[in-house]
Amino acid sequence: MAVKMHILVCGGTGCISSQSDRLAEALKEALAKRGLAEEVKVVLSGCFGFCEQGPIVKVAPDNTFYVKVTPEDADEIVAEHILKGRKVTRLLYKDPKTAHEVSDSKHMDFYKKQMRIALRNCGFIDPENVNEYIARDGYEALGKVLTSMKPQDVIAEVKKSGLRGRGGGGFPTGLKWEIASRFSADQKYVICNADEGDPGAFMDRSILEGDPHSVIEAMAICGYAIGATKGMVYIRAEYPLAVKRLQKAIEDAREVGLLGKDILGSGFDFDVELRYGAGAFVCGEETALIQSLEGNRGEPVSKPPFPAERGFYGKPSNVNNVETFACVPPIILKGADWFASIGTEKSKGTKVFALAGKVNNVGLVEVPMGITLREVIYDIGGGIRDGRKFKAVQTGGPSGGCLTEKHLDTPIDFDNLLEAGSMMGSGGMIVMDEDNCMVSVAKFYLEFTVEESCGKCTPCRVGNRRMLEMLDKICQGKATRDDLNRLRELALIIKDTSLCGLGQTAPNPVLSTLDNFFDEYLAHVEEKRCPAGKCKDLVRYVIDPEKCKGCTLCAKVCPADAISGKVREPHVIDQDKCVKCGACYTACKFGAISRS
């Protein structure tokens, strides 16, 4: 019988951790049991981006989108939807705005405003099957380049497209290739930076897991353009599934001759190797990455010479990030003008963001440059969770900064974000509501950079630690106005004097919160008060004797036995014993406990 349906099961790390691999097996069993195995194909695909609602199951061609599916649901899906054409309503996605089920992905706000270039095959093809990639124009761009373009034409095309590095810096990719092509050597290298380090960002992992061949193809195109025959992927060993799929993709590509000697009869040789990183944030910086690739400590070295001149083993090397590479094949096939027609004046194409925090729809989204934060947060993200008020959005991870309500309508691109005091970074986007304390947010990111500083230069190693101590002091209510001034001064010095990008950008979260939320810092310092109620040392829980009914519930939930009082009489919190966990505050049914 003819194949009438495909059931796509998300095989990304997120969904597999909630047993989507078992779910795929259960679906196959249920299909076999009903004699449908020949009519329906089950495909373990890459990430759909809607990770929070995983495991995701999508049915083609009717686009039904099931969320939070467990292996136990497999039988019902097959018996109802696949056999009898009735969608399983309870597994459909519910729109947070209307509280109605949405029948298919075409009607989901999460997908409507997205435009997928880098993620074009994620959640669509089976990443472990090279044929499915080929069916989606895979390796056609490499073929076009090898048979009908000169290396300088390729570089010109990428330059014209306006593609800029997606890893954080935003350096023009075509220009980078051009510089690397100018240096001649017996061996040159194409290096793929898959050391995704920003907390919360996982687009590179999803691309490698969902569409590994796109990166391999782009590396070969880059190799042809700059005159390199070897490619290295520096990938963190913490991404076992990405490593496995990439490894398989490399082997498959070699087997069919899309990697190796004389690719497509053009005389061009290219091969790719993997190198594992131990997951150090600093190794995302290209010189530190190259040090680590060579087997040395992952410490940055000063530039120039740039890697394009002396990189891996002293040979000319070109380093690009995973998402940047994934954009290259469509640029070659559809043309630079097509790509340049998307986006803003100086930022072309699309960008993948890892949308997280207090939004309804958490996940991976790819949007055209120039979209506003409001559209991303309220349309795609479905608004702030639990109807709370938006406060800020953090972009760019530990190197970025916080944007506030006044930036909501700013078109997102590299330059606008910089101007607003943040940065694109690798595309982390963490949304915060009124319950987030901005001083604590700055502290969180600084803790990360202090931990990840390689220790080579003093401003970063010592300066960031001193900054963190000051933030601690502020959160404990022990700081003065002077400390705020010193904090800013130190931040600016670290920015100016650090050796590499890690140190130069580490003070950004502090500076941008100082700029945008100075009143919150002041409240901590002068009033010894945390407006969001997050800084434990500054919070006081008090029971209002007027409202307290003496139900004893608070005393029961208090883990520190700090609440005393008789039944039906007002209770009292012993401030010396209170650990400020907030359990009583949540438990009280009469709103008698106040937090200040």
């Binding site: 009519e39 083609a60 054409g85 099957n129 056609e140 087997e255």
Partner: protein, 134 residues
Amino acid sequence: MSNKIKSLDELRKIKQSVKEGTELREKGQEIDKMIEVKVSMATCGIASGAREVMAEMIEEAKRRGLNNVVFTQSGCMGFCHSEPTIMIVRPGEEPVLYGNVKGTERIKEIFDHVIEKGEMVDGMIPTSYRTSHE
């Protein structure tokens, strides 16, 4: 596939031969621009051979080289007297329902006229209801 791909032409040939593997998904993405044939798969439909009809129609579309037709299933359409029932939705047009779609001749007729030319044939089920979604 253990043979090496030796040229761009060979790659394109392979692409043609493997395209079918992901075709259903491609059609799903473009479903708004496709002629959608919904087959009613209620118990009465299945008992009257809806599954076989759907498979036959998929084969027929393939034989005719029609790339703009996509087949989906639906639950009970409520026309148990005329099963198997199909609903044909041409982009931008009102859906049309046909009953008793069974047998090579009937399927051929529907393809010749309704699907390929947008004409009407006998056996149409008139519908005048609206659903709560409209």
